[in-house]
C-alpha cells in the first residue's frame, strides 16, 4: 500500500466519523434544546402547550402555597405578567418569595405552567442572568441588586 492510499484511508475514515458526529449533533440539537421564556412570552403564547421550555422571573410575593404531599404552587412574574406554576417535589434551599427563579417544564392548555425542575440562585446576592435580562426588559430592574447568578438545581421525577 502506498503512502497515498494509506493517507486516503485515514482521511476517509476520519470524514466518516465526523459526518456521523455531525448527524448526531444536528438530530439531537433539534430535539433537546430548551428555550427560555419570560412570563410575558408565555402569556403571549410564544411557547406551544406541551413543549419543554424554561420560564424565568421572580417568585411573586405572597403567591407561594404549599399543598399536601410536597405539592407547591407559586407565581412567576416579570412585573408585567404573572404565570402560575405548579411543582411537585423539593425546591432548592434559596427558593424564596421575591427572589429570582427558573422553572423548567411545560405549559398546560389552561395556561398553568407545570414544572419538573426548579432552579434557584446559589448565593444570596446573585440572580440568574436570564432573569436579570427579563426584568430589565420590563423595566423592573433595580441596580441595587447584584447581577449574575449561579443556579442550583432541584429535580423531581
Amino acid at each position: 500500500m502506498t503512502r497515498k492510499q494509506r493517507r486516503l484511508i485515514l482521511i476517509g475514515s476520519s470524514l466518516g466519523v465526523l459526518a456521523f458526529a455531525v448527524a448526531l449533533v444536528l438530530s439531537s440539537l433539534r430535539d433537546s434544546i430548551v428555550f427560555f421564556n419570560s412570563p410575558t412570552d408565555i402569556a403571549d403564547h410564544k411557547a406551544a402547550p406541551g413543549k419543554r421550555v424554561r420560564l424565568g422571573g421572580m417568585v411573586k410575593m405572597g403567591s407561594l402555597e404549599r399543598g399536601d404531599n410536597l405539592q407547591i404552587r407559586f407565581e412567576v412574574t416579570d412585573g408585567n405578567k404573572d404565570i402560575p406554576v405548579s411543582y411537585h417535589g423539593i425546591v432548592p434551599d434559596l427558593f424564596r418569595e421575591g427572589q429570582g427563579v427558573i422553572a423548567e417544564g411545560h405549559v398546560e392548555p389552561g395556561g398553568t405552567f407545570t414544572a419538573d425542575t426548579v432552579l434557584a440562585k446559589h448565593d444570596e446576592n446573585y440572580m440568574p442572568r436570564e432573569v436579570v435580562d427579563t426584568l430589565k426588559k420590563q423595566g423592573h430592574w433595580q441596580e441595587t441588586s447584584a447581577p449574575n447568578a449561579a443556579p442550583v438545581k432541584a429535580a423531581a421525577k
Binding site: R6, V17, A21, V25, L29, H122
Partner: protein
C-alpha cells in the same frame, strides 16, 4: 504591610516574566548560552515571588485582615482554620493567583529538571511559559488585584459562600488547575518546536511525562468536583453536563488524546503534526475553560463575580494565544518531516482511532457548550442545551472507542493482526457475555441498554487483564517465568493496563448508578418509616446544634436492613447568620460496599412533617474509584524509568530537518 509586600512581589514576578519572554528566544537564535541560561534563573525567581505573593494573601486570610477587600468579602473570624486557607482560592482574585502560582511551579520544574533538554528547546519552552505568565500577571494586576485595601476597615468579614465551606474546596480547584496549567507545558513545547521548526521522537519523550502529570491531576480534579457536587448540591446527581463541567471535560478529552498520540510519536516517530496540534488545542481548551468560568458568560456555582472588563481581558488573552499558536502552526507545521509508515491495522492505527473518537467527542461537547452562547449573540434567543443532547451525541461516540480499548495494546506496531488479537480477546468477550446475560437474567429488560453497558465495562476490564496476562505469559503456568516477566514488564505497560481497567470500573459505576438507582421524595413525621431498596429508614426526630459559624438543624434517622440496625443518618440544614441567613443542605451518606444511601432534607411543612429526598445508588462509588485508579495508572506510567522527568537522553536521536 504584608498585603503590599504580596502586591509588590507580584509586580516583580511580572517584570521577571517580561525579561524571560524575550531573552531566551534571542539567546536561542544567537546560540548565546548566557542569555538562554538566564531563563532558568528568572523562572526560579518568578516562582519565588509568586509563592511570596500567595503566602502574603494566605497570611491575610489566616490573620483575618479585613482591611484587604478580598479577605473581607470571603472570610469570617469564626470560620474554621482549614477554610481560611482554602478560601484563598474560593474567590475570583485568589483563584487566579493560584493559577499563576501553579504556572510558576511548572516553569520552575522545567528549569530545574529540564537539564537533559537541548538548550535552545529549553530556552524557548521557558520563554513561551513566560508569555502565558505575563498575560496572566497583567490580568491579575490590572483587573483582579487580590491585595486591594479598603479605606475603612470592617470589624467582621462577610464569610465564604457556605456552599464552598467544604473539604472539596481544598482539593478540587488545586487539582483542576494543576491539570489545566500542566497542559501549558505541552503547549510551550509545541510552540517551541514550531519556532525551531524541528521535532523528533525525543521531543515526545520529554513532553509525555508533563502531559501525564497534568492529565492525572485533571482526572482527579474532575472526579473530586463531581463527588463534591454529588454530596453538596443535595439531589444526588454526579454529572450535570453543566457548561462549567464541560469546560473541564474538554481539556481532559483532548489531553487523553494527546497522551495517546504522543506514544505513537515517541515510539514510531509518526503523527508529529497532529500531536503538535493536539498539544496546542488541549491548552487552548484549558484557556477556554478558564474564560468560560471566570468571565461570567456562563452562570454556575463557579461564577464568583461578573466584571465585563475581566471577560474582555481573558477573551483577549484567549485570542492572542489560541489564534497566535494556530497561525504559527499553519505557518511552520509543513516544515515538520513526516515520520514512519503504518498499516491500517496496527497499534498506530488503533491509537489514531482513539484520537479520532476522542477529538470528535470533544468537538460535540464543544458545540453543545458554546451553541447557546453563539445563538444568543446572533439571534437573542435564550436556550439551554441539557443532558439529553450530550447523552445522545457523546454516548454513541464513546461506544466504539470503548470497544476498541482492549484491542489497542494487543495490536503490534506497524502491521497488526486483527484476527489474532480477536482470538486472544475471546476470554474477555466471554466474560462480557456472561455478565450481559447475568444482568439480563436478574434485572429483566427494564433497560435494554444497561446490560450492554455492563457487558462493555466487563469487556474493557477483562481486556486490560488479558493484556497483562499475555505480556507476563500467564499460560506458561510457570511461576518462575511469570514472576520474571512481571518484574521485567515496563511500568508504563502496567500503567496502561491499570488505567484501561479503571475506565471499565468507572463505566460500570455510571451504568449501574444511573439505571438501577431508586429515588423517593416524601414528607415524613417523627416516628414514621420510609423504605427504599430493602432498607428501612425511621425518622427519630430533629436535633439542633451550633457549628463554628452556622446553626444546624439535623434530622436523625436510624437505618435498618431486615430488622437489624446498620447505621444512623443525619442530613441537616445549616443556616449562616453571617450571610444573611443563607442556608445549605448537608446530605447524609451511608456507604454499603461501593453502593450508597443518600438522604437530604427539604422544607419543613406546616403539619410538622419534613420533606426528604432519599436515593439508593448502587455501585455509585465505582465512578470515582475508577477515576482514582485511572490516575494511579498514570502515576505508574510516570514512574517508568524511561519517562521519568530527569531520564537520560535516548541513545539515538532522530534529527529532523533543521529550521528553514
Amino acid at each position: 504591610m504584608i498585603a503590599e509586600l504580596g502586591h509588590y512581589a507580584l509586580v516583580l514576578a511580572l517584570a521577571l516574566a517580561l525579561i524571560q519572554s524575550w531573552s531566551p528566544v534571542v539567546g536561542a537564535r544567537k546560540r548565546d548560552v548566557a542569555l538562554m541560561k538566564l531563563a532558568d534563573s528568572t523562572a526560579l525567581a518568578q516562582f519565588a515571588f509568586v509563592a511570596l505573593a500567595f503566602a502574603a494573601l494566605t497570611y491575610c486570610y489566616v490573620a483575618s485582615d479585613f482591611s484587604v477587600a478580598n479577605v473581607y468579602e470571603n472570610s469570617h473570624t469564626q470560620m474554621p482554620l482549614i477554610y481560611k486557607f482554602t478560601s484563598v482560592w474560593g474567590n475570583h482574585e485568589g483563584s487566579m493567583l493560584l493559577w499563576v502560582l501553579i504556572l510558576a511551579i511548572f516553569g520552575a520544574l522545567v528549569a530545574l529538571f529540564g537539564g537533559n533538554l537541548p538548550a535552545p528547546l529549553k530556552a524557548n519552552v521557558l520563554a513561551v511559559q513566560s508569555w502565558i505568565a505575563s498575560a496572566f500577571y497583567l490580568f491579575i494586576l490590572l483587573t483582579s488585584n487580590p491585595f486591594r485595601r479598603l479605606a475603612e476597615v470592617p470589624v467582621e468579614g462577610r464569610d465564604l459562600n457556605p456552599i464552598l465551606q467544604d473539604f472539596g474546596l481544598a482539593v478540587h480547584p488545586p487539582m483542576l488547575y494543576l491539570g489545566y496549567v500542566g497542559f501549558s507545558i505541552a503547549f510551550s513545547f509545541a510552540v517551541a518546536a514550531l519556532i525551531e521548526g524541528r521535532i523528533d521522537a525525543a521531543w515526545a519523550r520529554w513532553v509525555r511525562p508533563w502531559t501525564l502529570l497534568a492529565w492525572m491531576c485533571l482526572t482527579l480534579g474532575i472526579a473530586m468536583g463531581s463527588y463534591w457536587a454529588y454530596y453538596e448540591l443535595g439531589w444526588g446527581g454526579f454529572w450535570f453536563w453543566d457548561p462549567v463541567e464541560n469546560a473541564s471535560l474538554m481539556p481532559w478529552l483532548a489531553g487523553t488524546a494527546l497522551l495517546h498520540s504522543a506514544v505513537v510519536m515517541e515510539k514510531r516517530n509518526s503523527l508529529k503534526v497532529w500531536t503538535i496540534l493536539l498539544a496546542i488545542l488541549t491548552f487552548s481548551l484549558s484557556l477556554i475553560g478558564t474564560f468560560l468560568v471566570r468571565s461570567g458568560v456562563l452562570t454556575s456555582v463557579h461564577t464568583f463575580s461578573n466584571d465585563p472588563a475581566r471577560g474582555l481581558f481573558i477573551l483577549l488573552i484567549l485570542m492572542v494565544f489560541i489564534g497566535g499558536s494556530l497561525a504559527l502552526f499553519a505557518w511552520r507545521a509543513p516544515l515538520l518531516k513526516q515520520g514512519g509508515l503504518f498499516a491500517p491495522i496496527s497499534r498506530e492505527s488503533a491509537l489514531v482511532f482513539n484520537n479520532l473518537f476522542l477529538a470528535t467527542a470533544c468537538a460535540t461537547v464543544f458545540v453543545g457548550t458554546l451553541y447557546p452562547l453563539v445563538l444568543e449573540l446572533l439571534t437573542g434567543d435564550k436556550i439551554s442545551v441539557g443532558a439529553p443532547f450530550f447523552n445522545l451525541t457523546f454516548g454513541p461516540l464513546f461506544v466504539p472507542l470503548l470497544i476498541a480499548v482492549p484491542f489497542g495494546p494487543l495490536l503490534a506496531w506497524k502491521r497488526g493482526d486483527l484476527y489474532g488479537v480477536a482470538q486472544r480477546l475471546l476470554a474477555a468477550c466471554a466474560v462480557a457475555m456472561v455478565g450481559l446475560a447475568a444482568v439480563f437474567a436478574f434485572e429483566g429488560a427494564q433497560s435494554v441498554l444497561a446490560p450492554f453497558g455492563i457487558g462493555l465495562a466487563l469487556f474493557v476490564m477483562a481486556g486490560a487483564v488479558t493484556d497483562i496476562a499475555e505480556r507476563i505469559d500467564l499460560r506458561s503456568m510457570s511461576i518462575e517465568i511469570i514472576g520474571r516477566r512481571a518484574a521485567g514488564l515496563p511500568r508504563s505497560a502496567w500503567g496502561t493496563a491499570v488505567a484501561h481497567f479503571a475506565l471499565g470500573v468507572t463505566l460500570m459505576g455510571l451504568v449501574s448508578a444511573s439505571t438501577w438507582g431508586s429515588e423517593r421524595i416524601i414528607a415524613l413525621k417523627p416516628a414514621q418509616t420510609v423504605t427504599i431498596s430493602g432498607y428501612d429508614l425511621s425518622f427519630d426526630g430533629m436535633v439542633n446544634r451550633d457549628g463554628p459559624n452556622y446553626r444546624e438543624t439535623a434530622a436523625h434517622f436510624t437505618v435498618r436492613k431486615s430488622g437489624s440496625v446498620i447505621g444512623i443518618m443525619e442530613p441537616s440544614k445549616r443556616v449562616f447568620p453571617s450571610r444573611d441567613g443563607m442556608s445549605t443542605s448537608e446530605a447524609a451518606l451511608l456507604t454499603r460496599g461501593v453502593s450508597q444511601l443518600y438522604l437530604s432534607l427539604g422544607d419543613n411543612n406546616a403539619d410538622g412533617s419534613i420533606a426528604v429526598r432519599l436515593y439508593h445508588k448502587p455501585l455509585v462509588l465505582l465512578i470515582w474509584l475508577g477515576a482514582l485508579v485511572m490516575a494511579l495508572g498514570g502515576a505508574l506510567s510516570l514512574s517508568d524509568r524511561r519517562l521519568r522527568i530527569g531520564a537520560p537522553k535516548p541513545a539515538t536521536r532522530i534529527v529532523a530537518q533543521p529550521a528553514e
